[in-house]
């Protein structure tokens, strides 16, 4: 990148008390290949934040780093003020962070209802118990059913998740993610592969179910991003080159160059 672009990069923020997610100097290298170069990011509680960037920029990797799937080569990650840098995914998940996956990641042999109910188990205190029969847990079942209604899959309540259509599976994916008391929701390309009508439905669903919660979204669909997000981070080659409101990001030269690429530079 040219010198001019480097100067436009945001200065590293300090972690504030109101941050749902905070990354400080996070780096990730696979062997000798550095994929994430020193990312600093703060996402406020209740904020709707989108992460965009060209393919291969490292967006999914960033998600994996936050949720504990990948270890960090350097730097720290904070969720709701706690240092989760060395925690395992299930520990981070218990702190209220939940994520969906780019490739649909559901429990294929269980019904839609049971998928969602599984998402609720820990939050509702069932732990690893083998002495309580789920069939008789009225409150739990009601809540799970409610979520299935919320995501619009009531017609497929007891269908095995594996036979659902793609869009239905994505909706279920979101349903599992929001189950429980998770207040930080991370969605990895929720509208991937959808038609525009399906996209509208999913976005409506996302807006509805993430009300009052912190939402972090990786997306490629710009209309979704600009409609939904309070702030946008632009990730290019493992670095955040812009982190601001949608209008400012749209106008940023650095972002334009990153997306339009070297073609612009060659023309000059």
């Amino acid at each position: 990148m040219s010198e001019a672009l480097v100067q436009q990069t945001q200065a590293a923020p300090r972690p504030s008390g109101n941050a749902a997610i905070a990354l400080q100097g996070v780096e990730k290298a696979f062997g000798r290949i550095k994929v994430i170069h020193g990312v600093d990011l703060e996402i406020e509680k209740g904020e709707r934040h989108a992460i965009i960037g060209p393919n291969g920029a490292g967006k999914s990797t960033l998600f994996h780093l936050i949720t504990g799937k990948y270890s960090k080569s350097k730097g720290n990650v904070f969720v709701n003020g706690e240092d989760v840098t060395h925690m395992r995914p299930f520990e981070i998940s218990r702190m209220g962070l939940s994520r969906s996956f780019q490739i649909t990641n559901i429990f294929a042999n269980m019904s839609v209802f049971e998928n969602v109910r599984c998402g609720l188990l820990w939050a509702r205190g069932y732990g690893y118990s083998f002495w309580r029969l789920l069939g008789f847990e009225k409150a739990l079942n009601d809540e799970a059913a409610q979520i299935v209604y919320d995501i619009g899959l009531e017609a497929r309540m007891h269908t095995p998740a594996g036979v659902l259509s793609y869009a239905e599976q994505r909706a279920l994916e979101i349903g599992i993610t929001i189950a429980g008391d998770n207040d930080v929701i991370m969605l990895d390309e929720p509208t991937a592969g959808m038609s525009s009508s399906e996209t509208t439905q999913i976005v409506g669903l996302i807006e509805r179910v993430t009300e009052g919660k912190t939402l972090v979204m990786v997306e490629h669909d710009m209309s979704v991003v600009f409609n939904l997000a309070d702030r946008i981070s632009v990730l290019v080659y493992g670095e955040i080159i812009a982190c601001d409101t949608p209008e400012k990001v749209r106008e940023s030269r650095a972002v334009q160059e990153a997306y339009l690429g070297a073609a612009l530079e060659e023309e000059h």
């Binding site: 995914p89 299930f90 990641n105 042999n109 998402g119 188990l121 789920l134 079942n141 095995p160 036979v163």
Partner: protein
């Protein structure tokens, strides 16, 4: 006008009723209770007519054979907890079975008046000690072997199974080496705790059957209920998608460990039952072969289905005990391999798949009928040839007449016999090959209908 949230809540009220009725087996609670009651009745019937003819014509196996069958069924069900429910493939499950047996043999030495309680003896509780041993072992071994799943776990279980098997040979005095350890069921009356003495005697096979059948029923109910608990559901989740489980707040390792311990418990109980019935436990109860039996029974019966392991264990027993052939392992191996390749859902899965299709049986009649006939022809030819080969191995020189399945006599020295048997087998296989397209079409149709 109702708001979105109100509408959702009202609909949820309707759903509430459906929830309780729709449990995973798809059957209402009343029917489940009824089925377990039927099971209890069947088991009781076994007690009264073991070794005789039920209703005057149905030959019932002896009490000892019934006891052994129950032990094997429970062993297979415990294995299903691991494989079918938890998705963990183990090649060393017999370790818990064998050591459960050893535990019972040892405890049987002490079955009179433990802890000085009057009117109380250990006899009815012996299988539980097998379970206890199973738990202890599973806690120890599972602590490092459940860290990884899939292939690595399978290899570890194989190594541990082999370790236990070799160790049994080494510990000649404590574990009896290759011959194992045994005890004698003495002439003690069977005392039901807190009720008093009965007319039943500990050394009699039918009394032992009663004890075994009782614990079998309890174990089966517990295993059934386990799959409906959070832990049971989570084990299914880990089987389906272990990564996702972490993101709903559960450590996949802990879930696997828990299921492992549960499976070890029931395997130990099964081993204890076997030791009680046969008055001994030997090294072969620990063997990799026996672990393989569990795998085959569960897979052929249908992994993941509740009745799968029951069917599979019964099929195994049929081949091992009923079929008059020493080649039953070969036949089982062929069936197993064929099912792995063409019907991995097992017998239970096949049945379930075709339930919806039963109405359209006419469509199935020709392709399935032809396939069944072709298979029977091929099997006949195969069995004749295999039995003849085996006979030649064993006693070919002295007596040329082989007796395939004790059915008829055939002279192995005549080349003609070999030729026609081979031709029959080939004919059956060719028939199967010709009809395969229609069969697979019908099969796919059935599967799609079954899924919907």
């Amino acid at each position: 006008m109702t708001t979105t949230s109100e509408r959702t809540y009202i609909n949820a009220l309707d759903v509430r009723k459906k929830n309780i009725r729709f449990n995973p087996a798809g059957l209402p609670v009343g029917i489940q209770v009824f089925m377990f009651a039927m099971l209890a009745l069947i088991l009781l019937g076994g007690y009264f007519s073991g070794g005789e003819l039920a209703f005057g014509f149905l030959p019932v196996p002896t009490h000892t054979l019934l006891s052994q069958s129950l032990a094997i069924i429970l062993f297979a069900m415990s294995y299903n907890m691991l494989l079918g429910q938890g998705g963990m493939l183990s090649f060393g499950h017999a370790v818990y079975y064998g050591f459960g047996g050893y535990a019972v043999v040892y405890m049987a030495y002490f079955f009179e008046a433990p802890f000085g309680l009057p009117g109380f003896n250990m006899a009815p509780f012996l299988p539980l000690f097998g379970g206890l041993m199973g738990v202890i072992l599973a806690v120890i071994l599972g602590s490092f072997s459940t860290r990884r799943a899939g292939t690595v776990f399978a290899m570890i279980s194989l190594g541990l199974g082999q370790l236990a098997y070799s160790a049994a040979a080494v510990f000649k005095n404590s574990l009896g080496g290759e011959d194992g350890k045994s005890f004698a069921r003495d002439e003690h009356p069977f005392i039901i705790p807190f009720i008093g003495e009965t007319d039943l005697w500990f050394y009699k096979n039918d009394t032992i059957y009663l004890i075994i059948a009782f614990w079998f029923l309890i174990a089966v109910i517990l295993i059934f209920l386990f799959s409906r608990t959070p832990a049971g559901r989570l084990s299914n989740a880990v089987r389906d998608n272990e990564e996702r489980v972490e993101f709903i707040g559960y450590s996949m390792r802990s879930v696997r460990y828990l299921v492992f311990i549960g499976a070890g418990f029931f395997a130990g109980v099964a081993g204890g039952m076997s030791a009680l019935a046969f008055e001994s436990t030997t090294q072969s109860d620990l063997s990799n072969f026996y672990s393989g039996v569990a795998l085959m029974a569960v897979f052929v019966g249908g992994a993941g289905f509740f009745i799968g392991p029951i069917l599979g264990a019964l099929i195994y027993q049929f081949f091992a005990q009923v079929l008059p052939s020493t080649l039953y392992e070969l036949y089982l191996g062929i069936i197993f391999l064929v099912m792995v390749m063409f019907a991995p859902q097992g017998v239970a899965g096949i049945i379930l798949m075709h339930i919806a299709f039963v109405k359209r049986w006419r469509k199935l009649l020709i392709p399935y009928g032809a396939a069944i006939i072709a298979t029977m022809v091929a099997v006949f030819g195969l069995v004749v040839i295999a039995e003849m080969m085996h006979h030649v191995q064993i006693a070919g020189a002295s007596d040329p007449n082989a007796h395939p399945l004790d059915w008829f006599s055939i002279d192995t020295s005549l080349a003609f016999n070999w030729i026609w048997a081979g031709a029959v087998m080939l004919a059956g296989l060719v028939g199967l090959y010709l009809i395969r397209k229609q069969v697979s079409e019908a099969w796919d149709q059935a599967r799609e209908t079954g899924d919907a």
